[in-house]
């Protein structure tokens, strides 16, 4: 059976929604951790503390993970609506993923060259964002 462009798109949007759910769980967990001061999240990794406790982990006092939660929820919502044929959701989905991709590049740069430490939750999130970016590129353009 040959998949039509529309079917491929629906499958890709569905995959994007599932990836966004994983990211949503990760970001929600880190947001709660940042708000409570809970540190067991790092499981004894000093590098993880250095990243999550750095000044780069907050923007105007708000944990970066909170922005991640909103972004992943946005991706989930837009991907769901796009899978159901809402054309405008596709545009918003691409824009949100593009913004997240740039933010991820910046956060990876900070970890690698400024803090010299990596947080595994942040790397997991980065992998998810790269996956979402690949989907955004692969999804056939609608006419």
């Amino acid at each position: 059976m040959k998949l039509t462009g529309s079917r491929i798109s629906i499958s890709l949007y569905t995959i994007a929604a599932f990836i966004a759910l994983l990211g949503l769980a990760d970001a929600t967990y880190l947001t709660v951790q940042a708000l409570t001061g809970e540190t067991l999240v790092c499981g004894g990794s000093p590098d993880c503390f250095r990243v999550l406790g750095s000044s780069y982990a907050r923007v105007a006092g708000i944990p970066v993970a909170a922005f991640g939660t909103l972004a992943y929820f946005g991706v989930f919502s837009f991907a769901t609506f796009a899978a159901f044929g809402y054309a405008r959701a596709r545009v918003f989905l691409t824009l949100t993923i593009g913004t997240m991709f740039l933010a991820t590049l910046w956060l990876l740069y900070v970890q690698a060259f400024v803090l010299h430490a990596f947080c595994r939750y942040c790397l997991f999130s980065a992998a998810l964002v790269f996956g979402l970016s690949a989907i955004a590129v692969l999804v056939p353009s609608s006419r």
């Binding site: 949503l24 929600t28 947001t31 250095r50 999550l52 750095s54 609506f81």
Partner: protein, 244 residues
Amino acid sequence: MLYRKFLDLIRATILVACGFFSMKRYLPFFIVGTVALVTLASGALLYRAKRLPALAIPENSTTSAMGGTEMVHVRGRTDAPVTLVEFGDFQCPPCATLADPVNKLEQEYRSRLRLVFRHLPLPNHKHAREAALASEAASLQGRFWEMHDLLYREQSVWSKAPDVRVLFSAYAGMLGLNIDRFKKDIESEQAKARVKSDEQQALALGLANTPTIFINDHRVPPAQLNHSGLRVAIGAAMNEKVLK
């Protein structure tokens, strides 16, 4: 009769739900709404489970826990009948072990128990003094007890760290403190003076080991430094207070 009505109700609910979901345009709203609710609910539950106990009274209250009136770190009501004073060292493993039972007792006794913490960093613990200074630097931003709990909880991590300052700054960041101010405060004379004052108090009492616990000015024997032992001592202190 009632059973049949119940069945009818379920049947009607299923029919309404099927009708709702057959209207494809509402389904994405339902999915997104459900995920939003589940995320909010799980986040709120996680927050409730993990948040640190709120301070009952302001930081750095003046108290007379050991007889004199001076600045000490207090957690609990000022009119609590029982005061537990700990002379602790953040790098001492038995102190970290005791932190959990003490927190449990605090939750158990609530307004009837007040905690006081005093520093006694032992010279054989390489990072103990810096940890004490870190807690004082956090105290200058009103978060002593949060840093206290964090240092005990993460003792096994920072005790082995080559550059402990970096980790302490990271902890300050995790607690939402101003990191630049924290870095300055950890070197400040004010923080050093606070730690020194507690050490002098310990010296005056002839203390050389941690943890040393006093309950209403009575020293708790080392063998009793566990949850049940402290519970007995707190109970005795309460009875004594009632008899007076």
